[in-house]
Symmetry: C2
């Protein structure tokens, strides 16, 4: 374990797009970065050495899921999350706020924290800002998120303001609970719905507290891409230039490209693995639904030039057959292919920013997606 | 593609146990051999390079499944089963007889063949001995099984005799339909329930027709290990010494050990992958049910000395967590671990026969299974 401090280095900008490196005790994260989601301690359907080989520098774990099963104290006893799952690079854990909103059917939010019923066995649990930080410390995450209150969309402005203010007070308690953890970072989460004023107030409040990084939460919950991008535009300028910016739970390849263009550095989303399990591939040529009958006799791989075997070594006909048959291997291959494509997209983004041609890259990438690759 | 003929070489015997090599156009099969089952063209939950790395020389494909989806003609158009799924070594395909009995709810058996409803979409299909061979030729299998009539257990002796006689007539038609296929083999299937006289008649009848190999079918359908082994004892002596003997659909590691001791050369079974998906591991130390709560805090791997990463690189605590959480990776790892254990068992069996110590190996292996490895 190195003793070097947590940090962020901004190497270059191209328009609002940024090229950087986040330093953690488990190594560096090249940004813009996409973090595969390892919900309960596994990136669904992939071996972690496959995840690493795609170029992922960091994965995400979910506090909500891991606190319920196997439990934070259990993971700590087994040597922490890195050791438990066998991943040597950085891990970011969220705080549980989003899953309390989206997964637990019965929940109560008070000033003190959240009380909710487990979606697994119905047991009652409490999550305070302090406990959320304690859990993440027990897991040994390199980036630990504050507890925040997430709202379903749509909601009233009044509700958004109330949740944002509560999240700010929780941010302060989270920050205090985080304490000193060399080589690890604590991120605050900007809330405020799609309201520019609230987002700005939230960002200013978090900056005043001071975090190693800043996340934008509460987006990609149904507001649509246009409103999401507007909200990013209204928020990013109020975040410190010298800290990483993480857009939580986003998104499609296009969402990522457009958000990078607005100054975002980090992303996570279940989409590549979830869509993969359902037969959808994300590729250089756009989305390809392998369930579609037109693939049944197609001997071509998804992308013959891609270094990932899932993209270059398996025919569409075979993938189609596996997905139609409900076979594990179909889910495994398409999850792998999608994580690999997302990572190569991030690599392309980083290279483009480094060379000052991000805008051209963005245009060309979107055109290629639109063109598709149905044979003539 | 080599042009060398299909063949079998018997290298050594140790008691009734036999060490041999089956030669096919896609390479050699070391016997005693366990063939992982690749039902619809995938060994469930494994990459085929993992299957190969465990030491499997041959996998099995199911005619019944593949004829329904994606269809034999479709596979042939895509270059045959080897190319379709990406497996360069030998493939054995069964004839569909067993699945018509076990999977299709509506079926009718006549002298001509079997008419049945697909378990997928209810469509009507016909399978004659000739069509079963045509399908296997289209798939390009290295070992092609005759169509036989399988019975549920229990059944009357009269029913067993009738099915055995029909299977013999189908054997003759299958043999004729197989024709000349250099480097490929056609196996007849001994039927006759658990009746020694019927088994002998079936074996003699098949020998008279003449096949490249002989299978024992209709066992491991509920008759229990003792009756199964008795039936093998009553059958194997009537099979030619110079041809491989394949016990279909068997079995547990102990079934295999005991059947090798009675002169069987080849095995297939869904058990390692199916049990793996349900959280059960087969190891040197016997069966281990990873769902059991006692594994929750156990940092030990299943077998630290096994070369397969699934057995040596993942803690029981993590496997337990994955299985309890219903995660794909849990199914993947335990399926892989089980196939790897089965293959190392076969390797151990082969080495023991070669060195004339099969009986000691059999005793020691069974003792180790019984001893287990719960920590003191």
């Amino acid at each position: 374990m190195t003793e070097r401090p947590f940090g962020f280095t901004l190497h270059a900008s191209d328009g609002l797009a940024r090229l950087g490196t986040v330093q953690t005790r488990h190594g560096d994260i090249r940004t813009p970065a996409f973090m595969p989601v390892g919900t309960v301690g596994t990136v669904k359907g992939l071996y972690l050495d496959q995840v690493e080989a795609t170029g992922a520098d960091i994965i995400l774990g979910n506090t909500y899921h891991l606190m319920l099963r196997p439990g934070a104290e259990q993971v700590a006893e087994l040597g922490g999350l890195h050791r438990f799952i066998g991943w040597k690079r950085p891990i970011l854990t969220d705080s549980g706020g989003f899953q309390i909103m989206s997964l637990s059917k019965i929940r109560k939010i008070t000033e003190q924290g959240a009380v909710f019923q487990s979606h697994i066995d119905g047991k009652r649990h409490e999550l305070t800002p302090e406990r959320a930080m304690e859990i993440q410390r027990l897991l040994g995450s390199d980036i630990q998120m504050q507890l925040d209150q997430c709202l379903e969309f749509p909601h009233t402005e009044k509700a958004a303001e109330k949740a944002m203010q509560l999240s700010l007070r929780w941010a302060e308690r989270s920050r205090r609970a985080f304490g000193q953890q060399p080589g690890r970072g604590n991120f605050g989460i900007v809330q405020g719905g799609v309201n520019a004023r609230l987002r700005r107030e939230s960002a200013e409040g978090l900056k005043f507290i001071g975090f190693e990084g800043y996340a934008i939460g509460g987006l990609a919950v149904g507001e649509g891409q246009a409103l999401m991008l507007q909200t990013i535009e209204a928020t990013a300028p109020h975040l410190p230039v010298d800290r990483p910016r993480y857009l939580m739970g986003v998104g499609t390849p296009e969402d990522i490209l457009e958000s990078v263009a607005r100054g975002i550095d980090m992303f996570d989303c279940v989409m590549p693995t979830r869509s993969g399990r359902h037969g959808q591939a994300f590729t250089r040529f756009g989305k390809i639904n392998l369930r579609n009958a037109r693939h049944a006799g197609d001997p071509r791989p998804l992308d013959p030039e891609h270094p990932c075997p899932a993209l270059s070594q398996y025919s569409r006909a075979y993938l189609h057959h596996l997905i139609r048959s409900g076979e594990l291997l179909g889910m495994m291959l398409l999850s792998w292919a999608n994580i690999a494509y997302y990572q190569s997209l991030m690599q392309g983004i980083r290279a483009a920013i480094a060379e000052g041609r991000f805008d051209a890259f963005r245009t060309a990438t979107k055109e290629q997606w639109k063109r598709g690759d149905v044979p003539a």
